[in-house]
């Protein structure tokens, strides 16, 4: 099971909950909540996978507006959104391995 697929599953789950875009930590948290180990994905592993998914066109990203981050008194977040290409790739992966889709469907994210 690849992390790339887990990320796309998490992005889809979050979108279904009304969050069309998600930052790195939220994606890691969502993946962890759906996994048995409940362990957050390592920084390097997560951001390398996000970089690859974006370059492959499966995700697109943007920086949060600086004003909003300043108002919340924290660094800016980078938001990722699954693209149509990413949705097709995820659908193909689910079709190829439907068992894995059930195993990795995130149960619930605790943070927003």
């Amino acid at each position: 099971m690849s992390l790339e697929r887990d990320i796309l599953e998490a992005a889809t789950t979050l979108r279904a909950r009304g969050l069309p875009e998600a930052h790195g930590f939220l994606l890691a948290k969502t993946i962890a909540d759906g996994a048995e180990a409940k362990r957050l994905t390592a920084y390097g592993t997560l951001y390398k996978a996000l970089d690859r998914l974006e370059r492959a066109g499966h995700l697109e990203s943007r920086w949060e507006a600086p004003d909003y981050a300043a108002e919340a008194a924290r660094p800016r977040r980078r938001f990722y959104r699954i693209t149509a290409v990413g949705e097709r790739a995820l659908a193909d992966a689910r079709a190829a391995d439907p068992q894995a889709a059930r195993r990795t469907a995130p149960a619930g994210a605790r943070v927003t």
């Binding site: 920084y43 660094p75 605790r110």
Partner: protein
Amino acid sequence: MTSRLLGRRGDGSAAVRGWVGFYTLGLPRPMRERRQAEVAGDLADETLDAIRHGDRSVLFRQRLVRLLMGIPADLSWRFFDAPAAARLYGPAPWVPLTRWTLALTGVVAMLAGGGLAIVTLPALAGQVRPDLWPGWGPVGFAIGSAVVLAGVLGSVFWPRLGALVIVPGAIIGLFAAPWLWGSWLLAVIAGAARAYQADETVR
């Protein structure tokens, strides 16, 4: 709230930020800043999450695990993925040597060139000195000196590549002539200083 989210002593955030700053050295400024800002955002969200759930005490251990487990991916990204993306930003402009890097480069070049000459010139003239020191030492010394010389001269034009060449040369030289450890260390310092000087994010 800001200071709490940006990390405090002992929560592991400084180690993560330091590591990201280290492995992104030498990348074009936009790539470097993006990775640093993204991880900084992650650290803040991680802190916020811990505060919300009242388990801030686990932050240090959690961060250490996330940091260590991600190092292979960080290095793989840095050496295999990032260089291709960095080329889109075009070649970095040549950076002239400062007084210090010129002095270090000159001293190391003279030491390496001199060492190479001492071993190879008698051999080329058919006057091999078997008493020089036993085993493969003279050959390793000559190879190490030649590689360090090539690296330190190359670092004038290609700082990062030069630094990368110097390191294996210095390691070979250290095994061949360990009593000259200070010279091999100086070579590595010269390469690192030049690479650091040429890093566009610290200029």
